[in-house]
Amino acid sequence: MAERLFELLFKYRPVVFARGDLVFASPWPLIVVLALGALALAIGVTAYRRTGAAMSARERGGLLGLRIGAVAVLVFCLTGPALRVTTVVPQQNFLGILVDDSRSMRVADGDGRTRGALATEMLAPAGPLMRALGERFKLRVFGFSETLGRADSVGALTFDGRRTDLTEALAAARRDLATVPLAGLVLVTDGADNAAGVLAEPLLALAADGVPVHVVGVGRETLTPDVELSRIGAPATVLEGTAVAVELAVRAAGYEGRRVPLQVEDEGRILARTEIRLPASGEPSTVRAHFVATEAGPRRVRFSIPLQDGELIAENNAVEALITVKRRTERILYFEGEPRFELKFLRRAVAEDKGVAVVTLLRTAEDKFLRLGVEDANELAAGFPRTRAELFRYRGLILGSVEASFFTHDQLQMLAEFVSVRGGGLLALGGRHAFAEGGWTETPLADVLPVMLERTARADTTPFFTEVTVELTPAGRDHPTLQVRSGAEASAARWDSLPALSTLNPVREVKAGASALLLGRGDGGPYVVLATQRYGRGRSVALPVQDSWIWQMHADIPPEDETHEAFWRQLLRHLLSDVPDPLDAAVSVDRVEPGRPLTLSAEVADSGYVRLNGADVQATVVDPAGGEHAVPLRWTVRHDGEYEATYEPSLAGRYEVRVTASQGGQSLGQATTYFEAGDVGAEFFGAGRQTGTLRRIAEETGGRYYTPANLRTLPEDVSFTESGATVVEHRDLWDMPVLLLTLVGLLSAEWIWRRHKGLA
């Protein structure tokens, strides 16, 4: 509407002004025009000076101003103003028409018609658009999804591509049309790119060539009605029996507030089912799916929401993750400075857990230790480890009530490096000799812990003691460690009913970047009861209470209650999650289309977790048919100890990647990971029109952005280009309606004013 009004007043559409340069092409010399103008002005001024009417200086100035304005408009017209624009020579130039051929074009969000059908109709060879374009250009039609291919017409496209790669499409079109005079490209797409290419590269190249890309965006930005589930994060590897939380993004439109089930399945077996509330239209919301990984091996876990009535896309209601569930016993060293019930009940809670072995070193008296759960007579025989190799054997470390002064300076440094360098999980328990009360404030461990330790000694010398009623924080409510019942609501209800604990360590603050999961209400509180953070390569957790065993023993807790066991089992697994081995293998994606590359990577370190760059790292990829393919991995140079290789699976199915590393003939270990090749279904996720991306493509190349509704001007707009074979045109501006209207307006205003004053 605004553009139409502009065209009515200024004779041409804005694009002509944008493309053109202003020039003056008067048949008379400029000096003559200016002289005529000055003469007309002088007559006016003289006339107003001589008039005998009673006028103030202000009125005289006003009338004179109107007259000057009118003369200025006339002078402007006499100068012969015009726009110099470059336009194509008809039929001398090529125009590339790139049509999205991917599966997202099958989405029927155009009043019951698919995007593909809309594009086919819009670009029909006999249609007005193609005829208008055909009159000006030689047309080349392409279909694109993963790659770009020539098509005789849009009608030949099947809209069956599994990926949309705008970067590749634009780069390929530029290459393909490099040898012909190219006036521009017309890109017809929903913009739902899922190739993650660097779009800036082809855009810069096209802009440098002066080839504008005019973009026609099809489809709706928000798909209504539809529910879309997508994955934000999932662990690649977990220990058997671990409570896993997978973050999912739910985007829904048209079902605001509806409660729907979210189901977790492991290859057909239902692991968990919970109810979620669908968010407001178009608003993404994050939900966590909780389940326990009970089966060992690579598991394809599927998360799904049932198809709702009238949904536009059925395929985006489910998402999958390939999770490797490890069956092995992870060893945690628990060093406790005093015999106490926390030790007994912690060990008891995980005694039946095959995945975790708590090796305990207990100081029963000064220089007297009791070892529990050791592998052999030598383990910890000399007390707390004195070398990194000895300490780094363990994947987790629990520090009980033991004062910092027990350790040597090097041992304190080792404790910090256990987390930051080795990547282990450290859990600090509360107690008489823990946290600030144990003199830990000025030690390297104070940096590692997720909580702030008090720096000033308390004026009151009596030991601090308070009972704390524990409550979940919002972060704790969703945290897998604290899912002590099946379902988040049941877990939260259980936490609300647990008896109070007590603390000797008034820890009130968590560090920036740490998460407080449990807080305790007590005298002078709230106090931190459970906090966690990533630190360096590892993780640190603080539990500054002294008697979590109350959750097992309290009179109100029935003997069969498993809350205490579940809490400890999951807390220790949280501690062990993502703890690296000396050799770790990974893949860049857990599912890839056959024929598409993925990156195999490995991180290699020695037993002291010093990263090694000169190792010989080999991967053996076992394909679904059992064939083995040797793939050497190379050091990336970007990071110490990081090795990579690219691999392209050809068969659909599950692949096993076995990585071995050695240095100087000595084995550094082996690691196994998995991926699958098959339909990724990417086209059904994020399939709404990506207007931002499409506008960017147009703006950065000098093109324009259109919707199917405003395509009328496309053929003319495409003509204004400096690319290809062009001619220069001058388009007169002196006869713009706006000039006439201005002139008439100024003269009328002057006349009315004069009449009012009795001068006319």
Binding site: G337, E338, P339, R340, F341, L343, K344, F345, R347, R348, T360, L362, R363, T364, A365, E366, K368, L370, L372, S401, G431, R432, F465, S502, L504, Q546, D547, W549, I550, Q552, M553, H554, A555, D556, I557, P558, P559
Partner: protein, 261 residues
Amino acid sequence: MRQLVLAVALLGVIGATPAVAQRRPVRLPDKEPDFKAFNVPYNGLLTFVRLRYTPSRIGFGGGGGFFGGVNYNWDHDYPRADQHLMTILKELTSIGVRVDGTNILGADDPELFRYPVAYMAEPSYWTFTEREAKHLRNYLAKGGFIIFDDFADRQWWEFEAAIHKLLPDGRLVQLDATHPIFHSFFAIDTLDFRHPYWGQESVFFGMFEDNDPAKRLLVIVNFNNDIGESWEWSGTGFIPIDLTNRAFKLGVNYFVYALTH
């Protein structure tokens, strides 16, 4: 005459057994003392807990007497034995021990569940209600540990009947010196203990979780023994130092075991 001598001798033997003192008819106070008034509040430190029960017989004299001279049986050696053991634990071990008070708790007291190790004296006089039995079963199942001490000889039968009434499926197993409880702090390599007064050879019984000797002990039973007596008189020389030392060693080991297993 010979029969008289035999009768007197028999009476002498009977009189020498620990049960005789309680059989005298007595006039008991109308109201029991408020035993909880002697307790200290929970603060997380290891606190000695003496299990109180309604004794099958009651009287004056004998091992008790702290509460107005009445012998409640469960109170034998209270409070000195309790205090002395806690002092020894504090001196010898790194345990955070409470030495400013000890607790007396009934089996039906919810507060008992804050103290996962408890001591019972004279268990041959032990009686309990069904509610108390339920509490004790839960206490043991959830992780509690009870030390039975101070009984001998024929008193076994009463104790055995009581504990089997409490835990019908539980089996009492005689322990030998290899069990970890005898090595949790001190290395006690032989179990050649004798009752400090009557001289019977001591026998150590245990009852295991799920009756599985590989699992933790739920109870330890000092039969034909009275280590509480040695704890009580340890400061006086009334009982030989060697015996006292060995009694303390058992006590320390029992508590360290209870704190770790």
